[in-house]
């Protein structure tokens, strides 16, 4: 139920727009995040972007894991 998928913003029209991943395009509502921008990755849950994905943190986590 709490499943959420990282998807890239491809279109923004106010609070609404589209996100995409692996050739899939999906309608999304951006009213729960501030200033959505095309190209950013967001976490999509039940049609809403609920949070941004932070690339810097993702890379840091992977570095920590590689350095173990």
């Amino acid at each position: 139920m709490c499943l959420a998928v990282p998807m890239k913003i491809v279109e923004v029209n106010g609070d609404e727009g589209f996100v995409g991943s692996s050739g899939l395009k999906r309608k999304a509502n951006f009213s729960l995040i501030k200033d959505p921008k095309i190209g950013e990755y967001v976490l999509l849950h039940a049609g809403f972007a609920i949070e941004r994905v932070k690339e810097k943190e993702a890379l840091k986590t992977l570095k920590i894991l590689r350095d173990i």
Binding site: M1, C2, L3, A4, V5, P6, K8, S21, S22, N29, S31, L32, I33, K34, Y41, L43, H45, A46, G47, F48, I50, E51, V53, K54, E55, E57, A58, K60, T61, L62, I64, L65, R66, I68
Partner: protein, 388 residues
Amino acid sequence: MKYVDEFRNRRLIDKVAGEIRRAADPKRTYNIMEVCGTHTMSIFRFGLRSLLPENIRLISGPGCPVCVTPNEYIDKAIAIANMKNVIVATFGDMLKVPGSYSSLEKEKAKTADIRIVYSSLDALDLAKKHPNKEVVFLGIGFETTAPTVAQSVIIAGKSAVENYSVLCGHKTMPEVMEALVKDGPSAGSGPVLSKAAHGMSAASKDGSIKVDAFLLPGHVSAIIGLKPYGFLSKIYKKRCVVSGFEPLDIMQAILMIIRQARPEVEIQYKRIIEKNGNPLAKKSIKNVFEKCPSVWRGIGCVKNSGLKIRKSYGAFDAELRFKPRIKKTRDNTRCFCGYILKGLKTPYDCPSFARGCTPENPIGACMVSSEGTCAAYYKYGKDTLKPR
């Protein structure tokens, strides 16, 4: 898929597994509860249990919203679905959940107009498309889903969609976790584990729950942040790590739990989680909902663990609008869901598991939901896994 494939890297998973084996104290047992159903599915799907030493035990918790939705809610949804001129819109997982006397799936097969939707906004669109019908969305889920449903109510209010309402069954995680760590088997007002029901489980001989640490739910935490869990480490001395859902996330979170020098709440899922959560989502929840006592299937009533629609949005409250009347609810006594949701038993302990209770013919909700503990054990473990 970006941010998914990197966190499924087999070589790195093996590396972390090796480090877990080195870091874990062989003289003690680590009982770690994964609270969220999405974690449970991921742990099974990627076979993570097999990578862990014997003394690290993963215990599934109450974090599957479909599983903890009580019969009373299903009975009310069915009563509304059978009213004239009503369309009930729901997430697909809810269809097969058995109520006291029927399920939404069975009612749909008769005459009820029940539609599966992916989002509350799809239900709102249905209401716009069918202005002469009443569209009722079944609002279930934890803090991850609650703001999305709150937004649908706010949007319905702004765009004057008067034929849309929500049957609110939302629940919140920290309160039920407190009930579990504080009261153990007697958490809530549900059944207490009888002596005869003891066996292989996370419960100790005196019936108290023995969870040393929690893998905290990543997406609930994306909304609420860390603060609501503070009591777990400060008062109850439980080690806590907010974890993502890919196999590397979960393995790293387990390593972080083992390495904690003293109990605290840490974040593994840093690419998503902000310490204070998502302020817009929290505000949305607060605007539309207020806290209330809530009944959890198998656990019973837990204070402040539910959300109900505020009076200011009362026009969108399906319970007020339709006042569904239901017969006395009844529970199936052959089902161990209550014990399983509390982490006191595993599906292997249930007399009905795979013998009468299957995903095709579920007796309990834990076998219905794709994220239910019994469904996970059935799909991935019924033939190959030994009870641990």
